[in-house]
Symmetry: C4
Subunit: 261 residues, 4 copies
């Protein structure tokens, strides 16, 4: 049972601020990648006079760039923010760590609000930059690309968020780290590259969400509210499932040392 | 001589479960990448009305995305599963570690069954998602692309699985790790990127197997049983060869401390 | 308040030399990638007779190669140069570490001069190599690609350099490293991949600078001085902002141990 | 002054064998990537009947795949072979370490012969696999792509091999590692990614050699001896330059502890 409250001291608000800033930068970088990548620029001199070409087809090249942007952003931002807030940058990760009894309810709520607000600011800045390519890319909003059904979108988001939260739980389990020195050192890389995998799989299906702050911010700024419930229920389903599986089947101390101590 | 049996306690079944889950996720992610990447979506608004284009040509862009998906999946899943089961996710790796006397016969058999079953479930989920692009991609089944001969396919699978199992043996040899601190820390990355290399080499040859659970599951779900024997004999040949070379030529303690002790 | 002077001994000049050499290699590698990548060579035999095709369109494939070249160069050069000079390779990073009180004024000035001179030499070598593709690529000079405004270019450079300098400050804060063993080990990778992200975002906007030595050297060698002030003011704004945010909000010892001691 | 001889015991020949095997696998993987990537396969069912298309244009997508194959191969093979032989896999690296007084003359000679023989076997296997695409790719032999001059090719190979050998010297300097824990752990990754950078820069210039065993083996198997001297003199020039710069300017103990002791 997670604690309801905790001391809201300076470190607490520093952590909330880190979640706000990291989610802002995360969505500024990633949505910019999706939007700016639509513009193919012919940079032969005189470059300023060349006409940028707008083409938002999600072919394998653009998919790779977008997926790398999402995955590597999470790597570097988890790397930098972990010491302040744990580096969640995602309400589904926060929910998972709440259910796994690693953070309090009040911290989870403040984190989620900070993530959503940070995400809104990050995406709003992108929109100001290049309205034409922003519109051409549909604001990079999540949506069900044909022939994906709502149930299919929900399932895809659930499975991929399950992977992400399972990775976070594995990476942050300090008891396992005793026997596995690679775990804490490679943690930000493994978490970031799991986000990469989710995108290389699901961009053609749902534009890949796995993060309600991303789904909500992109929808709110673009006005495309298509299937918004999926971008919350899917990632949260995956987080809940990951905690259940991890706690029931895979915790190293299942019925073990900690409960006996 | 490996042990035949071992105590089948809770940790044993946790390990078998980890192999099942990791192979399921591995093939869900990778076969999805191969299948979904066939759909080129024009995401200009209104996106839902746009016609997805199906094109499964294995050009350099798609090959890179698929190879990254296989390699990085192995990195993150070995990262997460290593503490439970060692993170084999591949019957050829399991065979190699059995022959290298690191696991018992009963564990090897349970792992292999779990890997094949997990693989079947993972690929079966992919097929439900997008039957049209699944069919267009031929279910990502392994096959001999012209002008590869059966002997050539066998050889290619043997060489590349040799690389993988040699890497696993090097990465997990705790005696070598004493003098080489990078070995345990970078182990999941080196193993995963070896899988990447195998795919960037062999996708145009055999669609790259190096893992009988992958070859069998993709064949069983798609019904394409072309050259199925190669996807078992090739990886197993490579694993046997790797153990022979490693044990005879490269073991740090060859004729050394352990045998004298 | 940073120290004005320091002992200019052999180690000091070794550090300045490392900055010169690392920036030279950095810009030789990265500008070469941007320029050479313009040439599409048909390598069917007899290759020497084939006509190289010059096409500098910044599509997603070229953007990825260029962004990887910038990011991975910074990774390997920070890796190698860190022990001598800290591995700045960028006047904006040097400014940030000066303002964060980690280096002296005299060291900052010598570093910046060495970086600019190294950059000039590196780009000048590239120009000698292939004048045709160098010209076709506009010398890879930074410029405002339509429809980016000067204010937009400044803002983009500020945000992305903020990310870079924030990462450097996080990675090099030895007090935080006590609790986070991944910080020093992954530092060069996190810094390098932040540079990758900046380029995958901003190549279609400003060709991505975030480094006045890069902006100046590319302009001086190509003669394209378009918006040169932005390539200094933008990165420096980002560095100043990063130090302010880090020192005020995120320093682990804010109002803490160090100031009390 | 390096030692001329050393005890040629079992470990010595194990090391030579590791260089042979690692170079064999290195060139099998990388030349296969360059050759197989020429075949674009339409894998729509029935795949076996589809006509493979041969197109060896070195566009940005193929360049990336080939550069990743070279760089990541070096990463994983250095990772696995370092404990036996140091993981040179390249006569230029061996020359550099000989001149830096880290290995004996007899070891250097045996390593170089093993690397060249291993390379010949690796490339010869590739040629057997797919003679049509092997021929179409010109056997991936090094050559001067227009408008590169012999002097330009020499210079490019010198600069890029300088980077590689400088990285190897930095990564393996055990005295520096005391203060920089990231150095030994990330060493194989930094060395491998330096090889990646060399290829992303120089594939359009010389097809990128930086390794006489690669240049010689590709020439001998394909019969394309174009500018063979460059693939030896260039990498060796770079190695000599790196040792000079490192020993004179950057050795941590220059005129220091070791010489006084």
């Amino acid at each position: 049972m997670p604690a309801l409250m905790e001391s809201m001291d300076e470190d607490f608000f520093k952590a909330v601020g880190a979640e706000f800033l990291a989610t802002l930068l995360f969505l500024f970088i990633t949505i910019s990648t999706a939007v700016n990548g639509c513009v193919t620029t012919d940079n032969r001199v005189p470059a300023l006079k060349s006409e940028p070409l707008t083409d938002c087809t999600l072919d394998s090249g653009r998919m790779l760039n977008i997926a790398l942007s999402f995955g590597i952003s999470i790597f570097v931002l988890v790397y930098a923010a972990a010491a302040y807030s744990g580096g969640h940058i995602n309400p589904a990760v926060t929910l998972g760590l709440l259910l796994a009894n690693k953070i309090s309810v009040v911290r989870a709520l403040f984190y989620m609000v900070a993530q959503v607000l940070g995400g809104l600011v990050g995406v709003a800045i992108v929109k100001q930059y290049n309205p034409v390519s922003y519109a051409a890319a549909g604001g990079a909003a999540n949506q069900l690309f044909a022939p994906t059904t709502p149930a299919g979108g929900w399932g895809m988001e659930t499975i991929l968020t399950f992977c992400l939260v399972w990775m976070v739980l594995s990476a942050t389990d300090s008891e396992r780290a005793v026997d596995a020195p690679h775990l804490p050192i490679l943690a930000p890389l493994a978490i970031g590259l799991t986000v990469f995998l989710a995108h290389i799989v699901a961009i053609p299906v749902t534009n890949c969400c796995i993060n309600p702050a991303r789904g909500f911010a992109a929808a709110a700024v673009s006005g495309n509210w298509d299937s918004q419930w999926i971008w919350w229920v899917g990632p949260f389903s995956g987080a809940i499932l990951a905690v259940l599986v991890y706690e029931i089947a895979f915790r190293p101390d299942f019925d073990g040392i900690r409960h006996r101590g």
